[in-house]
């Protein structure tokens, strides 16, 4: 069951066997697996509880409800990067596209060779991938909901003879409403809000919404509880504070908030790698304007991906942005903006997901807050430009008559020949509009405690009963949408916990 602020304003001081912080791809899976094994589980979620019936097409209404900082979150650096992250029951799974890919074997081989993660070999993870895929109803996007923009994208790939794949998504009877980023109003997308959390609740787990974890209390080398604040969803003011006693704690707050919580808990002195190694999968979007109507709001948010350049660390896919968000990302205002936006039904937004090589960092600030920084280095910038050039080429191969680029002062091209000018421009990182939704790697897993934060069982090095199960555990970017990797690793972490529960829940 989900508890919101009113019932708990009287007495929140409680205890549980396992306290799970976060209800997204990591936390919900851990909660379900542990509750199924008979453990008393309490899930803390900072955001509010918004059921499917409350989801609307209106970004003004949904952004403040479902997104952290109403969707205006920024990473500081030479190119300020906007990021989107869910802050609601279900976390980012409520607002993502629901794309599910298994971790590429090459990445897992790299983790084994460079980080000593021998337990994460592909064949050993297959049962966990299968389990998650079954629970989430993962399937290739069917033809019936393939939108015109996806078909154009596929046509372009065929014209250019690029390798492409049909996207796998966690959908059940999807109608192609294409409002995934504002919360699926039909309930077809199997976010944790409608898949794992109800299952966890059926096994007896409790979810506390509007409940922010302030600090993990550590005594004698063990996590003994979590200090929390109950937040009023309307005023965001703290209503009350409490201590939740727990036999073990799973932190699943995501790559920015997990290290921030560990900093606040005074654990940075234990492991110097907390907060380092932040990867973003930077995302660059181009807009194509076609002569015929595309109506990109109709159909699946993404139908195909071009993975021809995956070895270079670049993957392409189509996406959809509501008009407000699209106008925000274009460099125009006044009548210039409307002249362009009048062609909204002729527009298609396609993006490049780039595997970054240079890591950012989450810093602890003195006032118990944190700051995230990320500097785009020359190598990654070259990769961004290559991605933009390829994306423009794909648009023209699909028949676009104009392409809008995410580059300041060079934002429109009408002919493919103009693409060749891009390398000649003196472009700085700050001239590029970069966005991200995949934040990874700030509490990386590794065999060596000197260069990592958690061990192969997801246990914090040096603490008996503190675990991390979210995207922060990745040693490197995963090159594909990370949801399935997070969920498979969380399943494995929870099952390992259950196998050793007597040891981890030992009362000292």
């Amino acid at each position: 069951m989900i508890r919101t602020i009113d019932p708990i304003s009287r007495n929140l001081d409680t205890s549980c066997e396992v306290c799970v912080i976060g209800s997204g791809a990591g936390g919900a899976v851990v909660a379900k697996e542990l509750a199924e094994a008979g453990l008393n589980v309490l899930v803390l979620e900072e955001g509010g509880y918004y059921p499917t019936s409350s989801f609307s097409h209106d970004p003004q209404r949904m952004l403040p409800r479902l997104y952290r900082h109403a969707g205006g979150a920024i990473i500081v650096g030479n190119a300020p990067i906007m990021y989107a992250e869910g802050r609601c029951v279900g976390g980012s799974t409520v607002i993502n596209a629901g794309i599910c890919y298994r971790t590429p074997e090459a990445i897992l081989d790299h983790w084994r060779d460079e980080h000593g993660l021998v337990e994460l070999a592909f064949e050993k993870l297959v049962p966990y991938f299968e389990q998650v895929e079954n629970n989430l109803h993962v399937m290739p996007v069917p033809d019936a909901i393939m939108g015109e923009d996806s078909l154009k994208f596929k046509q372009a790939a065929e014209n250019l003879r690029y390798r492409y794949v049909r996207v796998q998504r966690n959908i059940h009877a999807c109608q192609g409403t294409n409002l995934c980023v504002l919360g699926c109003p039909t309930g077809a997308k199997q976010s944790t809000l409608i898949s794992y959390l109800p299952a966890a609740a059926n096994y007896g787990a409790q979810v506390l919404a509007n409940c922010r974890a302030n600090r993990i209390v550590v005594k004698n080398g063990r996590a003994v509880g979590v200090e929390v604040s109950v937040v009023d969803p309307a005023s965001q003011q703290i209503r009350r504070r409490a201590l939740i006693k727990a036999g073990a704690v799973f932190v699943c707050g995501g790559a920015l908030h997990t290290p921030a919580l560990l900093f606040r808990s005074g654990l940075a002195k234990w492991r110097s790698w907390i907060g380092r190694n932040l990867y973003l999968h930077p995302n660059l979007k181009c807009v194509g304007i076609f002569d015929d109507q595309v109506n990109s709001w109709q159909g699946s948010i993404q139908g195909f991906q071009i993975d021809e350049f995956a070895e270079e660390g670049i993957v392409f896919g189509s996406t959809f942005l509501p008009p407000g968000i699209l106008a925000l990302s274009l460099p125009y205002f006044g009548n210039d903006s409307f002249k362009l936006m009048e062609y909204y039904h002729h527009m298609s937004v396609w993006g490049a997901l780039v595997e970054d090589t240079h890591a950012g960092r989450v810093w602890s600030l003195p006032n118990k807050t944190s700051l995230t920084t990320y500097w785009v280095d020359a190598r990654d910038q070259q990769r961004f430009l290559r991605a933009i050039m390829l994306l423009a080429k794909i648009f023209f191969a699909a028949g676009a008559r104009k392409v809008l680029l995410p580059i300041k002062n060079f934002s429109e091209i009408d002919r493919e020949a103009e693409v060749a000018q891009i390398p000649k421009l003196r472009i700085r990182a700050s001239d590029l509009s970069v966005f991200t939704v995949h934040l990874m790697g700030t509490c990386r897993m590794g065999a060596d405690p000197r260069t990592s934060v958690i061990d192969m069982d997801h246990r914090f090095h040096g603490l008996e009963n503190l675990f991390i199960a979210d995207a922060s555990v990745f040693p490197t970017p995963v090159r594909v949408n990370p949801m399935l990797t997070i969920m498979a690793l969380a399943t494995r972490a929870a099952q390992k916990f259950v196998e050793n529960r007597k040891r981890y829940l030992r009362v000292t």
């Binding site: 970004p59 900082h69 109403a70 205006g72 409403t177 039909t186 407000g324 409307f338 009048e342």
Partner: protein
């Protein structure tokens, strides 16, 4: 009730800026300036305090730099309408990056709210409300559901 972030003067400033950002030839949205001030206040409320402070300082700097970059040399809030428009155009290409970044952030937010208005979306041939309603209905019929519900029960005593 949440506390207000913008002062009366700041609200007035944003109401003066808004008509130069939204398209004059676009569909009219009744009382848009008042709506945008409310929405921006809500947005700023959601921001972490550091970013919120930066935004409010950016607003003050944008207002004051008009003394140096606009003609007549006055603050933005005291400029004639035509000069305001020219000043905004100029600042969108300025080498003063904090001012330019603030303008682009504010512009983005105003346009986000403008293009999310039903009147404007209708002018763009985008009707997500009916579209979503049809699809919710279609899925219910396909799965013989009476309503779209989660199996999570909300807590009640």
């Amino acid at each position: 009730m949440r506390r207000k972030i913008l002062s009366t003067l700041q609200e007035k400033f944003l109401a003066q800026l808004t008509p130069h950002i939204i398209p004059a030839d676009g569909p009219l949205v009744p009382h848009f300036e008042a709506k945008i001030v409310q929405r921006l206040d809500r947005f700023l409320f959601e921001l972490p305090s550091l970013l919120r402070t930066l935004f409010l300082w950016g607003m003050r700097i944008f207002d004051l730099t008009a003394i140096f970059f606009a003609k007549p040399h006055r603050r933005f809030s005291r400029l004639p309408e035509a000069s305001r428009f020219l000043y905004i155009r100029r600042m969108s290409h300025t080498w003063l990056r904090p001012v330019r970044d603030w303008l682009f952030t504010c512009r983005g937010l105003i346009l986000l709210f403008y293009y999310s208005q039903p009147e404007v979306m209708a002018a763009l041939h985008f009707d997500p409300r009916n579209w979503a309603r049809e699809k919710v209905q279609a899925r219910r019929q396909a799965l013989n559901l009476t309503e779209t519900v989660e199996t999570i029960k909300t807590y009640s005593e």
